[in-house]
């Protein structure tokens, strides 16, 4: 199996899992889904500069093939932003749960579950 196939299938699987989890009804799985999506994006952005091994990034004497340094800078930016956003969404989800008593994304608890007795779930 080639390196390209492995990276591509990893990106695809993580994206699929991320989309599935993001579409769930409870904030916890949504947060996990968003984290999963951002992993997929980081791997994808990294591979955008083509998968090259043993090539210098900027300049070396007598070398014609270079690795692209820019995607790594992009990935770093994306990691910082997605890390911050995940932290924010975790705090926001927790705060929403504590304030409204339900961890449903649309704010309506399941049938048979009252907002006050869902405290033991987390």
């Amino acid at each position: 199996m080639s390196l390209e196939f492995l990276v591509a299938s990893a990106v695809g699987l993580m994206t699929a899992a991320g989309i599935y989890l993001t579409l769930r009804g409870r904030t916890f799985s949504v947060v996990l889904g968003i984290a999963m999506l951002s992993y997929a994006i980081n791997a994808f952005l990294f591979s955008v500069g083509r998968l090259i091994v043993n090539a210098p990034p900027i300049y070396a004497k007598g070398v014609t093939e270079y690795a692209d340094p820019l995607p790594q800078a992009l990935v770093l930016t994306a990691i910082v932003i997605s890390f911050g956003m995940t932290a924010l969404v975790v705090v926001l989800a927790l705060r929403t749960y504590l304030e409204t008593g339900t961890d449903h994304v649309n704010g309506t608890p399941d049938a048979g579950e009252t907002p006050s007795d869902s405290e033991g779930d987390v």
Binding site: T22, T27, V30, I34, L37, S38, I41, F44, L45, V48, G49, R50, D68, L70, P71, L74, T77, A78, I81, G84, M85, L88, V89, L92, A93, R95, T96, E99, T100, V105, N106, G107
Partner: protein, 505 residues
């Protein structure tokens, strides 16, 4: 003067950080800094506007790294217009927030407000695709904070949905930027335009995918049907002045669609040419109708204003989706009107809600309240502006759009949608006014009311901006036409960014 172009990005960044300091929190110092910074931004935007209106395109290479390797910021007519609009709207909203004491209901109103302006100004100025993503994130992060400012259960729940939707949107933005970079090897928008035009046929399907994804992300920000579902709940549940500022957030999406489509996905782009044109017009017409139907159905004034924002952005995009200079000029005249009229209704809704107290802004009969006369006049004026009736700029804008659409094949659809939409808006707003001001439950006036006369000053200010847009419709339409011509001749933009030799490649 050469460094003035960076002022709209630097000033809010520095002042925003200063207002974080402990001594500036909840004191007059913080308010003064924030107000001063916004006034400086308006002044800088005015100077830049004067410069851009001569038709020059000015670029500024950050750190002295020349394009296409470094990040450039670019000022043309469209950017200057958006900067000025942002500054004026922000000033009105900030004065309203200070007068009503909203900025004291949480710790970090002023820093968040300044960082919001930083993100907006940066997004309008940048000439680099990834930098656009970064500024989108800055403005979104600040908007999360502002949206949640003041807190409360309903606001947190709406905020949760708003954050999740926008995080998924940012993810798509990154995928699109990654695809475009992977295929063309550049992130500079001007360079991107050249390379997309010269791309081999084998690469074009991928570029097409990247372009459509990118435009879809911008459509999400612009709340285009069916990506509009996040907007009503968010705007109706945040505090009204913040919602008024958010009226410009949908316009960031519109701006990005216009900028990238005319520049990179325009007629020189081969198979990618006018990629979004196929689906954008039906989507825009449907969101126009959905928005104004929502105006008719809303039972709270702020929800009504939120649907009004969807409707008027839909009107705007239905003109832009034709992607030809006349219609774009009409849209560019309608854009400031759409922003200001949406914001005005939110400000008026806030003042009415404060004056009524018991029923807040729910559209149900209540006792008469203090300041009813002035507020009903303000509501009447803002309703006329939002519905787009004469004599205000909305009418002129819609007339321009209808005239520009005359020659297109979709003209009957556009005419029908805009006229039906206007009728629905008129009906909904008239009903809301009746509930608020005519149907009163008792004779005696509501005794204790937090209404203050000064609180209507910002709303009047925004209204006078609309009036100025109407009175000076001649110069404004000439500016809009020149902007549209500049947009549809992207060669000048490319030459300004890459230099005469770079653009010849």
């Amino acid at each position: 003067m050469t460094h003035l172009i960076i002022a709209p990005i630097l000033v809010p960044a520095i002042i925003g950080a200063l207002t974080l300091l402990r001594t500036a929190r909840h004191t007059l110092l913080g308010r003064g800094l924030s107000l001063g910074s916004t006034i400086v931004q308006v002044a800088a935007a005015l100077a830049l506007f004067a410069e851009a209106s001569t038709g020059t395109i000015r670029t500024y290479a950050l750190g002295g790294w020349a394009a296409p390797f470094g990040v450039v910021i670019v000022l043309d007519r469209l950017s200057a217009m958006m900067l000025l609009l942002t500054g004026l709207l922000a000033l009105g909203v900030l004065v309203h927030a200070v007068l009503t004491g909203l900025d004291r209901r949480g710790w970090h109103f002023h820093p968040l407000f300044q960082f919001q302006l930083l993100g907006l100004n940066g997004a309008f100025l940048t000439g680099d695709l990834f930098n656009l993503f970064v500024f989108f994130e800055v403005l979104l992060i600040a908007s999360y904070g502002l949206m949640l400012h003041g807190q409360g259960g309903a606001r947190l729940q709406a905020g949760m949905q708003y954050v999740i939707v926008n995080l998924v949107g940012s993810t798509l933005f990154l995928i699109a930027a990654g695809i475009l970079y992977g295929v063309t090897g550049t992130l500079n928008m001007a360079d991107l335009a050249l390379r997309i035009g010269a791309a081999p046929p084998g690469d074009q399907p991928l570029i097409r995918v990247g372009a459509q994804l990118l435009i879809a992300v911008f459509a999400l920000k612009a709340a285009l049907l069916p990506l509009h579902l996040w907007l009503p709940r968010t705007y109706a549940n945040t505090s009204a002045p913040v919602a008024a500022l958010f009226a410009i957030l949908t316009k960031v999406g519109v701006y990005s669609i216009l900028r990238l489509t005319t520049l990179a996905f325009g007629e020189n782009a081969g198979a990618v040419a006018w990629a979004p044109a196929g689906w954008m017009l039906p989507a825009a017409l449907l969101s126009l109708l959905a928005g104004f139907l929502g105006v008719l159905a809303a039972r709270r004034l702020r929800l009504l204003a939120a649907f009004g924002v969807i409707g008027s952005t839909g009107t705007l995009l239905s003109a832009i989706a034709l992607f030809e200079p006349d219609a774009t000029a009409a849209a560019l005249y309608y854009l400031p009107h759409s922003t200001l009229s949406g914001a005005l209704l939110f400000l008026v809704a806030d003042t009415i809600g404060r004056a009524r107290k018991r029923e807040d802004d729910r559209l149900e009969p209540d006792r008469p309240f203090a300041g009813m006369g002035q507020l009903s006049l303000l509501f009447l004026l803002s309703a006329i502006a939002l519905a787009g009736l004469p004599p205000f700029s909305g009418f002129i804008g819609k007339l321009l759009i209808l005239t520009a659409a005359e020659g297109s094949a979709a003209a009957p659809w556009i005419w029908a949608a805009i006229l039906i939409g206007t009728f629905l808006a008129l009906f909904g707003l008239a009903w809301a006014g009746t509930m608020l001001f005519w149907k009163t439950t008792a004779e005696e006036e509501l005794a204790s009311s937090s209404w203050r006369k000064a609180a209507t000053i910002p709303a009047w200010g925004v209204f006078f901006l609309l009036a100025a847009l109407t009175v000076f419709a001649g110069p404004a339409t000439r500016y809009a036409e020149a902007t549209a011509q500049q947009l549809f001749a992207p060669e000048a933009y490319v030459a300004a960014v890459l230099g005469p030799e770079g653009s010849g490649r």
